[in-house]
Symmetry: none
Subunit: 156 residues, 2 copies
DNA sequence: TTTATTGACCATCTTTGACTATTATAGCGC
DNA sequence: GCGCTATAATAGTCAAAGATGGTCAATAAA
């Protein structure tokens, strides 16, 4: 049931558990998992995006590599500002979920709180014409983020 | 003679007798019972709804699944039923806040979680024509309540 | 009438492959 | 050795195919 993408994600996260960054060969990794090299890109794009708190750097050609960097946890006040900007006036569900996952990974929210964030911004909650959903999600999400960080700074 | 639906219901409940949640493949199960896959959805919708104390999560695509989660103890489950009914299809902000306060008083949510509930259902979050706000708030709030009552061990 | 069943069509997530882009290195002529 | 080019060694992109599950309305059964 654990499919390829999940296995590759796990593998990478295990490698990174003690490191702030790792370097790997895309083709080697693909061979290790017996899959197409572009599969690696898919995993990086869907599970190691900036919104997830990672940076990808790479280089082609001989001696090429893919480097995965865990972004340094910023000052929390700053993080809120950045997240609010990132959310902007409109945000899709995947991006919102990525941010929520990132907050969970950083232990800035509890698993229960993460569930609430997802519940309030998921497609089921927002029963609206598609065009309006992202805008509404942004508004709801921002309000929740502010509360998350208000708490972190000890307010009420 | 017991209906197909009843047989599927029993099958699932047997699987869950020892577990707080199970995961299954919709198509596999349908094949096992020799029925249309959508039959499974029918059974889930009519016998494993929130009213029945269950929660369904699923994922499409390769490695997809349907997860059935049993919600918390009956007493609290009843409270959820009542709350869901109370919320209905439309709820104003004051009423939603009163419910949140009640959950907080009962210690069914933490202060942080209460803040998230308010943040997601407050008038700031729901930037819509007044007529639609209450309806949307009901949808969002219900999704969040369900998460609050979800069995803590019930998966992601 | 109400409940159950099915099937056609839709939405989402994953995997692959063909084609493209970039970089290093080996050979070559000078 | 120097500069140029061809080739090999990487990685990236994107669209198509594959693998699931969801929805809804028509039909059948109770």
């Amino acid at each position: 049931m654990a499919q390829l993408s999940d296995a590759i994600e796990r593998f990478i996260k295990d490698l990174m558990s003690e490191e702030t960054h790792i370097e790997l060969r895309r083709n080697e990794l693909a061979q290790h998992f017996g899959c197409a090299p572009s599969q690696i890109n898919y995993v990086l794009a869907t599970r190691f995006s900036v919104d997830h708190g990672y940076l990808i750097e790479s280089r082609r050609g001989g001696g090429g590599y893919v480097r995965i960097v865990r972004m340094r946890a910023r000052q929390e006040g700053n993080l809120l500002d950045m997240l609010i900007k990132r959310v902007g006036n409109s945000i899709d569900e995947d991006t919102a979920n990525a941010i929520t996952q990132h907050l969970l990974d950083c232990e800035l929210v509890t698993p229960n709180e993460a569930r609430l964030l997802r519940a309030a911004t998921g497609r089921n909650a927002l029963a609206l014409p598609v065009s309006g959903k992202d805008v509404l999600r942004a508004a709801v999400f921002k309000n929740m983020l502010i509360q998350v960080f208000k708490n972190a700074e000890g307010g009420v």
